[in-house]
Amino acid sequence: MTRKILGAAVAAVLTATPVLADFPAKDMQGIIMWGAGGGTDVIMRAVTPHAEKAMGAKVVMQNMSGGVGAISVKYTYAQKADGYTLLMGAENPQLYKVMGLGDVDYADFIPISMLARGVPVIVAQSDAPFDNFREMVDYIEANPKTVKFGSTGPGGLPSVVNAMLGSQVNLDVTTVPYNGDGPAMTALQGGAIDVFPVVIGAALDHINAGRMKAIAVVDTEANPALPGVQPIVEDYAEYATYLPWGPFFGIWVKKDTPEEAVTTLQAAYADALDAPEFQAFLDQRGFTPMNIAGDEAQEYLDRWQSVSSWLVYESGLAKHSPEKFDIPRP
């Protein structure tokens, strides 16, 4: 009898304690979508230590680049939905469906935090024979195929910007692919490519040091980080329909991750984002803080996917029509 009571008592205690109340019970794994030293990598490594402090657990980060980030997405998706594997990524998965890189994208994940977004800038070799967007377009028109544009693969930021540019002007250029913005900017400085569209944060230092020049900011207005560089709409107002457009960076967990884990992670990264050091870092690198999660983040992701998918589809870059995946027209 006493034994039975004891057993019942133990059972009661066990069920009363939610199993995940003490999430995280062990170290977590962070899968970074792009290579070491790139834009995504640097942001994740800068923010995560603050989140670790808030959660009291370690996030062991690992770079898993390749396939425009698709390898990291598939890998994270193949793990258990327990909140112990974080996907630390950029905007690229939202184009996988139309690009034919698989059916898994952010719709299969829960946003923990959308950390920041960036504005693209078109940079060129410092001795390129053009200084602004109109001159560049004219030069390309006069010298078809000779200007070399850098790219980071199908669905990478440069491919979308190129599609956007090509939708309004005739850009007959040679596109040379690299494995990320780091290697491409190295190639630009060595003269292997002439022009490269890249997020401002990654190129800012090189521009300020005079190692490359900014041709135009791909936005509706000039950017405070790059005063004096004209926005692209100044010469071609038509681009305003696509803008603002830009890359974003965030952290995701697999769908069906327990509520408690998601809440803990969201709170930890929201705290981390507010850390003055991280805010200063974003500011210095020309990124715009976002700090949104949940439904708000989902809305942003859906809109981004609709704008970009149709853009690349209409420029002929995409493999499949967005209609096939019920992605609405913007």
Binding site: A36, P49, V59, M61, A70, G153, T186, G190, I193, D205
Partner: protein, 499 residues
């Protein structure tokens, strides 16, 4: 300038920083010696760990681990024929035969001293000529990387042992293995048979551990009852005379190391293999043939891979461009600590440059000290009976292969390559060219395509580009010369000239 230079001695005089460099170097040697545990991994874990520290303290630890780790890979390569890291592959070619002859102590002593020399030359170039070298490294175009990779492929000639045909077969197998996975440029699937596990390709560190470690253990099984060689322990620290003897060679191989290290996209592994080939080419009459325990074959890769450390820092400090994976992570660490590594770092914070040079020099000294102590105990490993040794090698291989990506698939790959390597060795195929092929596969694939795309897919234009650029021309002539010098035609020509 002078104020900035004073930062050179900070790590030497501050006891706490001194201790951190020592600790880093010491643990680096052991991280480097265990196959599968890489310096890249150790440094990236340290970023979170040292997050709340002062930036100087964090740097001391990271630089120490880096320097110690690159050296540490040679330890297991010499003793067990399992390179602790890809940059120590070439060390095993002559280091392991030396250990089999009972000269493990001498081999470790020599490789330690030569690593110190190479490391020092790398640091000296970093300190004196960093801006110049980084501008030079930037000038490498895709076609130059392609030529460099072809130059690397030609090393098959010196790695294939008795039969060149078998060497070419092994090298081609390596190139094929390297092609598996998503196409690096277009993300198309190649040889993946629809399996997601193959998207990222076959981990070449797993292949390396299998082909060297497991294959070696399986070979040893054939001689289980043979007693191990007694190790001679008369001399560990090499005499000044022999250091002086190898000095001209080590200067040449260190230069190879610095330049290959400074190139973004190539690192210590390729540098060490190229240096090995260079040593084989310039050493007229080695006392012992290469591959059977030639000292030159140990000196060359060990100087080159440690010189590559200084080399990798060159573009990192001057331009914020990482020279290899470790410096890429150190760039991340500097960001985390609120610094701005990039083209402005040298101008705005020259003290950081001299501080890093100081740390590297100190780590190099500690590497020499820690490397030369305890050698006696280590050489005992080789004297262990095979019944103890073989399970130990197998266990180390399994742990190492798992540690690379925390993936059990890699362990299966490793075992598969182990069995393949065993049969290859049994039938006189060298495994070195396979690993060479895997390492160079991506480099040659990507850069050949970039080069031809840049010339609007026109071969004549690409050739024109090669012939009009001095850098490409030199590389092209080197490729032609090395190719021709390995043909029977050349041997006949030389024989006739001698006669």
């Amino acid at each position: 300038m002078m104020d900035a230079f004073l930062n050179f001695i900070i790590p030497w005089t501050d006891p706490k920083l001194l201790m951190l460099v020592a600790l880093g170097t010491f643990s680096g040697i052991y991280v480097g010696a265990i196959p599968g545990l890489s310096v890249t991994m150790a440094v990236s874990i340290l970023i979170s760990f040292t997050f709340s520290w002062e930036v100087y303290e964090a740097l001391c630890l990271m630089v120490g681990i880096y320097m110690g780790g690159v050296y540490g890979g040679s330890r297991t390569a010499v003793l067990l024929n399992i390179p602790g890291a890809p940059s120590a592959i070439a060390t095993s070619f002559d280091g392991y035969p030396l250990a089999q002859k009972g000269e493990a102590g001498e081999a470790i002593g020599l490789s330690t001293t030569m690593s110190f020399v190479g490391g020092f030359i790398g640091i000296a170039v970093l300190a004196v000529a960093a801006p110049m070298v980084s501008e030079f490294a930037l000038r490498f175009q895709p076609r130059d990387y392609m030529l460099l990779a072809i130059l690397g492929i030609l090393l098959v000639g010196s790695l294939s042992g008795d039969s060149l045909v078998k060497g070419i077969f092994a090298g081609s197998l390596g190139l094929l293995i390297g092609c598996v996975g998503l196409d690096p440029l277009t993300a198309q699937e190649r040889f993946t048979f629809g399996m997601i596990d193959l998207w990222g390709g076959i981990s070449f560190v797993a292949a390396m551990i299998g082909m060297f470690g497991v294959a070696e253990a399986l070979i040893q099984l054939r001689y289980v009852d043979k007693t191990a060689v007694k190790q001679k322990l008369t001399r560990i620290v090499p005499s000044l005379k022999s250091v002086r003897k190898y000095l001209p060679l080590s200067l040449q191989t260190s230069s190879i190391g610095v330049i290959i290290g400074a190139l973004p996209g190539t690192g210590g592994d390729i540098a060490a293999l190229m240096a090995y080939d260079h040593a084989k080419r310039v050493t007229k009459d080695p006392k012992v043939p290469f591959g059977q325990g030639a000292k030159e074959g140990l000196v060359a890769p060990e100087t080159a891979n440690n010189a590559a450390v200084g080399g990798a820092f060159i573009p990192m400090i001057t331009l914020g461009i990482p020279g290899d994976a470790v410096t890429a992570i150190i760039i991340g660490a500097l960001f985390v600590h609120g610094l701005n590594p990039g083209p402005m770092l040298m101008i705005e914070q020259p003290q950081m440059f001299w501080f890093i040079v100081g740390c590297l020099t100190l780590a190099n000294v500690f590497m020499l000290i820690f490397g030369l102590t305890g050698v006696r105990i280590f050489t005992k490993i080789v004297e262990m009976p095979r019944t103890v040794m073989i399970p130990l090698i197998l266990m180390l291989s399994i742990v190492g292969a798992f540690a690379v990506n925390n993936s059990i698939t890699d362990v299966y790959w490793m075992l598969g390559f182990g069995v393949l390597g065993y049969f290859m060795k049994l039938y006189g195929y060298q495994v070195g060219p396979v690993i060479l092929g895997v390492i160079l596969s991506t480099l040659i694939d990507e850069n050949w395509r970039r080069a031809i795309i840049s010339e609007q897919e026109s071969l004549p234009k690409l050739l024109g580009g090669i012939l009009t650029s001095p850098l490409s021309l030199v590389l092209f002539l080197a490729v032609v010369f090395i190719f021709v010098s390995q043909t029977p035609l050349w041997a006949r020509f030389k024989a006739r000239r001698k006669a």
